[in-house]
């Protein structure tokens, strides 16, 4: 019986991280997987949960692909809120209207996919005409969406009025000859939407004009229907808001954004917008009025998810843990066996000492040979520290920086027994606080192996604030574990580090390759990342570790005025290939504060560089440098990283400590 049960549990296994595209999650899946960031973070993105419905100004949520925008936005939709209320209210909708009034409104989610949006241009039709057709189409989509919600409220008998009071008014609004029922109205909306689809199909082969049965200019439905609802449905209180959620706004063409920007600018009481887009997702700030535009703060409030979902933001790792737990709990075998803590399954953090020992096992003295020309003959004997090859490497570095071998050898002995003399203290301090990670990267380089990127903490870093990256890293790790040793996964609830590392590296390579295909300047961005990754790699391979963990660069973005450099750089931000550090920082010790950028950490395994922000040296670039990085086949680090140590090492920040 027990065996049968085990078989059943194993048979029901599915990769817990397999579904992660929030666009296709069903309502119940959204509720299963939902982690409320307002409950996890002390102050999430400087907004409160109340603002979702009650804030009258539009809110614009910006974040990279996979940052969780869609999941976040879809959670607030009418369908999800209704189901949530139903479940929490003993499968009953009594009181739902009061709940909505209390929350502050209802939201309708609009996503128009890229191929459709892109079909609203060209074919020798002027942009102005396409703008009108799109606006008409958008009004119909929003109108239908609100109509479906109101119909549902009536169908669920949550509203007292007779439906005809409302439908008569809507019939008039759309110029219908007779008073129509909800179903008839929705059918009419469908037909009108189909008129647009048919036109989009015909225009490619035929010279046709767009002649809709009735045209719907901007606001005629999107603003008027909510107003009509508020005026005619007594249950909705005065402050009730109809919220239009638009997702993937970065895909909207420029002329389409002009139309929608105008709506954002002129929101009225009772109607507002929540918009999801990538960073730099505004193609334009223009509105249809030639001398007017939308402005952050005045016309909308910007919420950058990556600022909130940051490894340094307290709560981010907890947030990831909760997200993972929700998924793991869905898998019977994990739920039954209590394997629902992802930080235990992956291990909380890397064990660099253990990795170093494993790495050097077959050839334990290779790193000594690597520094042969800098070391006295007895170095292998005197600096041997079997317990930790990283300490050995640090000791070697001390020699290259002028310390005497006998002093370093003694420091090693003192360090081992806890007798913290000057040099032993420095050894301990440098190892723990400065170089441990760099030493590991360098050691793997010396042994011609790849550094292993694994553990929950590492995956958190690699995700760069993009939850989707974290989920994909987990998905790949579970997939490899299932393929390689399913029994072990099920019996121990652990995933070995080499499986995780393979997952991280594969994903890193895959993401890098995909840059090439980015619609806006993908080829330039690919070259940019290749060159920059290689520059940072050079720093990490520096045998003297003069600039540990260099993985950021400084540029005054406002100086990037030339095209296509400016647009390509913005595209890098939009696609989260480049990440802007949240505040101005000093690029090198002693220099002024400037804008710092980093590569998305997901590329770290491919370039074998650090995923942490270490501080210290950052590459400082000019506009010309950025051009060269984008357009040339190779680019060299700014600092001299030769194997010959300069006698004048005034720019070597690390020797200042001696």
């Amino acid at each position: 019986m027990e065996k049968q049960n085990i078989l059943h549990l194993e048979d029901s296994y599915k990769n817990p991280f397999a579904h992660y595209n929030a666009n296709v999650l069903k309502v119940d899946q959204i509720l299963h997987y939902w982690c409320n960031p307002f409950n996890v973070f002390n102050k999430f993105a400087d907004i409160s949960e109340d603002d979702i419905y009650k804030e009258p100004n539009p809110l614009v949520f910006m974040g990279g692909r996979g940052s969780g925008k869609t999941m976040f936005l879809r959670y607030w939709t009418y369908e999800v809120q209704k189901e949530n209320y139903f479940r929490n209210n003993n499968n009953c909708l009594d009181g739902f209207i009061e709940y909505l009034n209390d929350k502050g409104g209802i939201a309708s989610y609009i996503r128009i996919d890229g191929p459709i949006l892109r079909s609203f241009e060209g074919f020798n039709l002027p942009n102005e005409k396409w703008k009108f057709i799109f606006s008409h189409y958008f009004e119909l989509l929003v109108g239908r969406s609100f109509l479906l919600i109101i119909k549902d409220l009536f169908d669920c008998k949550l509203l007292k009025e007779s439906t005809s009071t409302f439908t008569e008014k809507v019939s008039k609004l759309i110029n219908a000859n007779t008073d129509l029922s909800f179903n008839d109205l929705i059918e009419i909306f469908n037909e009108r939407i189909n008129e647009v689809t048919t036109f989009r199909g015909d225009i490619a082969l035929l010279d046709v004009d767009f002649k809709p049965t009735k045209s719907f200019p901007a606001q005629s439905l999107s603003f008027e229907l909510p107003l009509l609802a508020k005026n005619n449905i007594s249950e909705l209180n005065n402050n009730f808001n109809f919220v239009i959620i638009i997702d993937e706004y970065e895909n909207f063409l420029k002329q389409q954004q002009v139309s929608i920007n105008t709506l954002l600018k002129f929101v009225k009481p009772g109607l507002t917008f929540r918009v999801g887009m990538r960073l730099e997702g505004f193609r334009t700030y223009d509105t249809i009025s030639k001398d007017d535009f939308i402005k952050e703060g005045r016309d909308y409030q910007k919420v950058v998810l990556e600022d909130a979902l940051n490894i340094k933001a307290s709560g981010y790792l907890d947030y990831l843990k909760q997200i993972a737990a929700k998924r793991l709990e869905q898998i019977p075998i994990f739920r039954e066996r209590g394997f629902t803590d992802i930080s235990k399954i992956l291990g909380f953090r890397e064990n660099l000492e253990e990795d170093a020992i494993e790495l050097t096992l077959k050839n334990p003295l290779k790193h000594f040979d690597h520094y042969k020309s800098f070391l006295p003959d007895n170095a292998k004997k005197k600096l041997r520290f079997k317990e930790n090859p990283l300490i050995e490497l640090l000791a070697i570095l001390f020699i290259t920086r002028g310390e005497k071998i006998d002093d370093v050898a003694q420091a090693l002995i003192d360090y081992k027994i806890g007798n913290y003399t000057r040099l032993a203290t420095k050894l301990k301090y440098d190892y723990t606080n400065k170089y441990k990670y760099s030493l590991m990267v360098l050691l793997t380089s010396i042994y011609h192996k790849n550094k292993l990127y694994y553990s929950f903490n590492t995956f958190g870093y690699l995700s760069s604030g993009i939850v989707g990256h974290f989920i994909e890293l987990c998905r790949r790790s579970f997939q490899i574990a299932e393929f390689e040793d399913k029994n072990s996964l099920f019996s121990t609830g652990l995933i070995p580090k080499d499986y995780q590392a393979k997952a991280a590296r594969d994903y890193s390579i895959s993401e890098l390759q995909q840059i090439n295909r980015i619609e806006d300047y993908g080829n330039y961005l690919y070259q940019f990342v290749e060159n920059l990754g290689n520059v940072f790699r050079e720093y990490h391979k520096d045998i003297f570790i003069r600039y540990p963990e260099t993985n950021q660069f400084a540029i005054d973005k406002s100086s990037l005025t030339e095209e296509p450099v400016k647009s390509a750089f913005n595209s890098g931000l939009k696609w989260s290939v480049i990440i802007k550090k949240s505040s101005l920082q000093t690029s090198t010790p002693g220099s002024g504060r400037t804008e710092l950028y980093a590569l998305n950490r997901i590329f770290s395994p491919e370039f074998q560089i650090s995923y942490r922000t270490r501080g210290g040296h950052n590459e400082e670039y000019t506009t010309d440098d950025i051009k060269k990085i984008m357009f040339s086949q190779s680019f060299k680090p700014k600092k001299n990283l030769s194997r010959q140590k300069k006698s004048d090492n005034s720019d070597n920040q690390q020797t200042l400590d001696f």
Binding site: K14, N15, A18, H19, N21, N23, V24, R65, D113, G114, P115, I116, R118, S119, G122, F123, N124, L141, N190, I193, N194, T197, R200, G201, D202, I203, A204, L205, L206, D207, Q479, S510, Q513, Q514, N516, R517, I518, E519, D520, Y521, G522, N523
Partner: protein, 327 residues
């Protein structure tokens, strides 16, 4: 269910050709070994007008092969050369009549799709059906014998380079009146970047991957599976197989998926695989206007670098109307 018998033939000899004349034969100029093989096979067939689509981008990139590229001119046929932009099939088709290509309903039309970019195959066949009301098209295709893999690795294969944008193929917008969830069917090619991007953009509820198997040659076996490993490994995705040189089998495979999995879903098909399968997809989409055809439009096609040498040439009689039911 009413069924219609399909007609396809491997072309080895002139006697394999089931007609004696064509009013129009459409070909696309190219420097590939395969570009004019069908033209050679049809040497003794009376072709009233040879319409050559000369893609500006391709002409520019193949300057070193000029002689080969323009070798179609050495034929004793009336030739109309049409300059075209590789991303604008619509502009070309709308200008056909003005340029002297005024197709009539009863004309016998031939089209050699060997060097046609995939979106053009769709636009042309739809044009023949919708604008010219042609009942059937005679379609030709010459298979590649080998593909060029950079550094010899099949994973390096690219059919295009640079950025892509996912578009609806003109006139194949489909119908998604109720904004329902999507079923994505990807006709797999060797180029993995494309399928991943399409899957993300369409955000389907379900994805079915169609692999051309058996391939044109046993040595092509499993390359598309290896290269599209990420999508294939996704437990939510299904794989179907279809013989790589048979558009009609493709049609039936799509029909089966459409009927069994496509109910209540908005069916999206991405034809990025072998041309005969693309042809089958095109025919299916013409017969089923509710499905949408999407395509990753590249900034640049890699025309002749991707394959070399010629294998078999094929003839397909394509019924553009669903007169007798499904094939």
């Amino acid at each position: 269910m009413v069924r219609e018998q399909y007609e396809m033939k491997q072309l080895e000899f002139e006697t394999d050709i089931p007609f004696s004349s064509l009013d129009y034969l459409f070909i696309a100029a190219g420097a590939s070994h395969r570009a004019y093989k069908v033209l050679d096979i049809l040497e003794r067939i009376k072709i009233k007008k040879l319409i050559v689509i000369d893609f500006i981008e391709r002409r520019e990139s193949e300057k070193i092969y000029q002689e080969k590229y323009y070798s179609y001119k050495n034929r004793n046929i009336e030739i109309i050369t049409l300059n075209a932009n590789i991303n604008d099939s619509s502009g070309l088709l709308k200008s056909l009549v003005v340029k002297g290509v005024d197709i009539k309903r009863n004309d016998n039309i031939g089209i050699d799709i060997t060097c046609f970019p995939r979106p053009f195959i769709f636009s042309f066949l739809k044009y023949f059906q919708k604008v010219n009301a042609i009942s059937h098209a005679n379609v030709f295709y010459s298979e590649p014998k080998a593909y060029v893999f950079k550094n010899g690795f099949c994973k390096t294969f690219k059919s295009s380079s640079g950025p892509i944008k996912i578009i609806e193929l003109p006139t194949f917008t489909g119908e998604n009146i109720n904004d329902t969830d999507r079923l994505l069917i990807v006709v797999l090619g060797f180029d993995a970047d494309l399928s991943k991007e399409i899957n993300f953009e369409v955000a389907p509820k379900k994805t079915v991957l169609i692999n051309g198997f058996p391939g044109f040659s046993p040595k092509f076996k499993e390359i598309s599976l290896i290269n599209n490993e990420v999508l294939i490994a996704n437990q939510n995705n299904e794989i179907a197989y279809c013989k790589a040189n048979n558009p009609f089998e493709m049609y039936n495979t799509l029909l089966d998926i459409y009927l069994t999995k496509g109910k209540e879903l908005f069916v999206n098909i991405a034809p990025i695989g072998p041309k005969p399968l693309v042809l089958g997809t095109c025919l299916f989409a013409i017969h089923h206007p509710s499905v949408r055809v999407i395509y990753p439009q590249p900034e640049k096609y890699l025309n002749e670098d991707t394959s070399n040498d010629t294998w078999c040439s094929w003839y397909y009689k394509l019924p553009l109307y669903r007169v007798g039911g499904d094939l």
